[in-house]
Amino acid sequence: MWQYEKKLQYPVKIANPNPKIAQIIITQYGGPDGELSASMRYLSQRYSMPYGELKGLLTDIGTEELAHLEMICAMVYQLTRNLTPEEIVKSGFDKYFVDHTTGVYPIAASAVPWRAEYIGVKGDTITDLHEDMAAEQKARSTYDNLLRLIDDPDVRDPLKFLREREVVHYQRFGEAQPTKWNDKGGAADKTA
């Protein structure tokens, strides 16, 4: 079960609202390779994992992804403050605004709402771990694209943190390949 700490994992403090870039950043909330997909994927896969180390890793990374989707939502929230009707229309944000006002809805940049088809839970350890490694790279690529398109340093800073986390998660999933565990299910790797 979960506890909630009343803080963001990394600060989000955006001085200048910008509904135009909010529309692309939101893809890391409700898009195919976003943080909601990541958290649901790992938190769902953990149940059928055979070893405690894998259940721990998927629970811990899945939980961290919930913290990341909170950061993305904080960014969208701060980017859509105090908008005039003219700004809403000019930025193209009117299409989202009409259905959600400035609520934060899990949707991709393409305006497709989040769907469970974005995630794989095959129930096979090797398959699921490979899905996870691919997922981290897809997320990293998406952050690369966001950084290509966004100049505001207040926005780039948390995006760069989130991108780095994808790289670290990829490393951890790579290390989690089950051949290293011994027959009793404990860790064979005892190197310091």
Binding site: K6, L8, Q9, Y10, E53, L57, D60, R172, D189, T191
Partner: protein
Amino acid sequence: MDKQLVRRIHAYDFAILEMGLYLDTHPGDTCALQKRQELQAERAALVMEYEEKFGPYVVTDKDVRGDCWTWVNNPWPWECDWGVKHVAV
């Protein structure tokens, strides 16, 4: 309020989380385990220093003390910065 002290504690929060992920795939790494325990002790000392100066370092609903349900107080994390009320927006 002390922004620097709060940020240092948040840095320890992150380091401890990161060590935990590493230990998930290297549970036999006693060196890493010891390092994490050192980080927790260092963090505890900073939290004690903070609480002596500024009162309770509220993190979860379990930390709410006194006669008022301050858990529902603003701001919430997405509204500013780290979201910790002791940090100036």
